[in-house]
């Protein structure tokens, strides 16, 4: 008779930015099953949205998630503009895409930093977060806020990017590109990171299709889906860029996809800035009279994957029903595939590789003894476990 142990991760855990409880059922060191409890942060935004006007909903959905705070307004704007058949100006399209891509860069840098931390590479953590600062400074310059930018509205954007600011943005972007080179080199060429992340937390192509995973989680398993390409919106059809995919489906592939995507994002922004220079300053909104009755589906590619908004309008000034599907909602469910059969030390990084965002999904991890129900490990100990494993591998590599 083997003795099973439950390892809880969460509800409050440094591995996660937000509350959620994962229970890892372990036999010795191997994870046998995983269960989760969600709802620690349920704010019922879908219901709240029905009591707000279309202009107010933007501020509400922006607060679903602090890291990807522009992707929800983006998808909502797409949905409402679909109901009202509203075509926005080219300048607004470029500005929307610029904000969307800057957000992707800062979100991916944040993830690289956290992943480094879980592996015991605190230098990577410090670097990544340091390089993320200039991006946030750009946001402050463009929108007035480092986060929750309040840039979107039905029919366009609220603030213009004046042409005088373009050269400053270009300069910061070229700095970020250099820093990304440095970071990508440091992460991708490190033999310990290779040993630690390759073949860990594999998600096969079939798993991705079964769980309908999206974003970098799907693209790392060779499923080339990206809403920006498949169902183009804003300025994405106007610029040249590539969908980054990898085949392995492990933690390393996910890191690779994210790092390479940052280059694409930088390139998209640069092309959008070229576009901005060609269109007239100030033309950022179109006049919107009223939103007719009907239904609209809006999609946007957030840093973590596809955000989906479904809006039903009854002709009044607020949505009759507003359904929101954040990417983590489908991606987190894939833990059932990626974590089972792994050791506890690998489970933490497999969980983190999805870049789970709980505010979006609204849902944690700890170790309990399955027989006695006693807690045997907490979150910090889990991360220590992961860090120790990296240190051990490092030692072995050096000795060999």
């Amino acid at each position: 008779m083997s003795k099973k142990t439950i390892i809880p991760i969460g509800p409050y855990h440094p591995l996660q930015e937000e509350p959620e409880l994962f229970k890892l059922y372990c036999d010795g060191e191997i994870v046998k099953d995983i269960k989760w409890e969600t709802g620690y942060n349920h704010r019922s935004i879908e219901k709240l949205s029905e009591s707000k006007t279309y202009d107010q909903v933007f501020f509400l959905v922006e607060r679903i998630c602090g890291i990807c705070s522009t992707s929800h307004p983006f998808a909502f704007a797409n949905a409402v503009e679909e109901i009202g058949n509203i075509e926005i100006t080219d300048r607004a399209k470029y500005i929307r895409s610029i904000i969307g891509e800057l957000e992707r860069i800062h979100s991916h840098l944040l993830w690289v930093g956290l992943a480094g931390h879980f592996l015991g590479y605190n230098t990577v953590f410090m670097w990544a977060w340091k390089y993320r600062e200039p991006v946030l400074d750009l946001f402050e310059m463009i929108t007035g806020n480092r986060n929750s930018y309040a840039m979107f509205k039905v029919g366009g954007v609220r603030r213009d990017i004046e042409n005088v600011k373009i050269s400053i943005i270009r300069k910061t972007l070229s700095d970020i590109r250099k820093k990304t080179d440095l970071l990508a080199g440091a992460v991708m060429d490190d033999p310990v990171i290779h040993a630690r992340t390759k073949g860990v937390g594999i998600l096969t192509r079939q798993d991705v299709i079964d769980y309908a995973a999206v974003g970098p989680t799907a693209r790392a398993s060779g499923v080339a889906i990206d809403v920006r390409k498949d169902d183009p919106y804003a300025a994405y059809p106007l610029v040249n860029w590539k969908v980054i995919t990898a085949q392995a489906g492990d933690v390393f592939a996910k890191a690779e996809v994210r790092l390479l995507e940052m280059y694409e994002s930088i390139s998209i922004i640069e092309q959008c800035l070229n576009g901005l220079e060609k269109v007239k300053e100030g033309e950022i909104t179109v006049k919107v009279k009223e939103i007719p009755e009907g239904i609209g589906t809006g999609r946007a590619e957030a840093p973590r994957g596809e955000v989906f908004h479904f809006v039903v309008s009854d002709g009044s000034n607020s949505p009759a029903r507003h359904k929101i599907r954040a990417p983590s909602y489908v991606n987190i469910a894939t833990f059932k595939k990626s974590c089972i059969g792994q050791t506890i030390a690998d489970a933490t990084i497999s969980l983190a590789a999805v870049d789970p965002c709980y505010c979006c999904t609204e849902r944690m991890a700890v170790a309990y003894d399955i027989n006695s129900g006693k807690r045997i490990m907490n979150a910090n100990e889990l991360i220590d476990c992961s860090i120790m494993r990296t240190a051990e591998m490092k030692k072995n590599l050096i000795n060999n």
């Binding site: 709802g39 079964d210 309908a212 479904f310 489908v330």
Partner: protein, 167 residues
């Protein structure tokens, strides 16, 4: 310096090839009409990328199976609505090669809303069906594990917060 080394090696996969599936947007609608003519109640084409197909609730399994297995569509999510007609569910399917969002729309009974679960076919619908059961009180038949997802048993039984009251 390490970065430069990385770039020249071109280790990353920059793959631009898109998957091409044989079935395109209009073909799939024709096929649906052909195979499930007696189950389809209405087809509304808003534009080539947004199509709403209203079907009889009994046929959801067959149609979803056709879309998922034969046509290779991805299940995005399902949205439940409470309207004067009763309970409505929009199952959103995405055809990633063409950008099509196909809404399969069903209208369920006012008093006793229930429909077959899709979770035995693909795991993607597992959570959302539990959520709809919790918030709207729609019963999903043969669901592998229809427990509460959000409230973890903290809410009163038989109270469905997303239901509306109509006069």
């Amino acid at each position: 310096m390490q970065g430069a080394r990385y770039k020249t090696k071109e280790r990353g996969t920059r793959n631009e090839k898109r998957e091409t599936r044989n079935i395109d947007t209009m073909v799939i609608i024709e096929k649906l009409k052909e195979n499930f003519s007696s189950d389809i109640l209405e087809i509304v084409t808003k534009n080539e990328k947004r199509i709403i197909v209203t079907i009889k609730p009994d046929s959801i399994i067959n149609i979803a199976e056709y879309l998922y297995k034969t046509a290779g569509l991805r299940f995005i999510i399902a949205s439940a609505l409470h309207t004067k007609k009763g309970f409505e569910i929009h199952y959103h399917f995405s055809m990633d090669s063409t950008g099509l969002v196909l809404n399969i729309h069903v209208i369920l009974d006012k008093e006793n809303p229930q429909i077959e679960s899709l979770s035995n076919m693909f795991n993607a619908s597992n959570w959302i069906e539990r959520e709809m059961h919790e918030l709207f009180g729609i019963n999903f038949l043969n669901h592998p594990n229809q427990e509460k997802l959000i409230s973890d048993g903290n809410w009163a039984e038989g109270v469905y917060p997303y239901r509306k009251e109509f006069k």
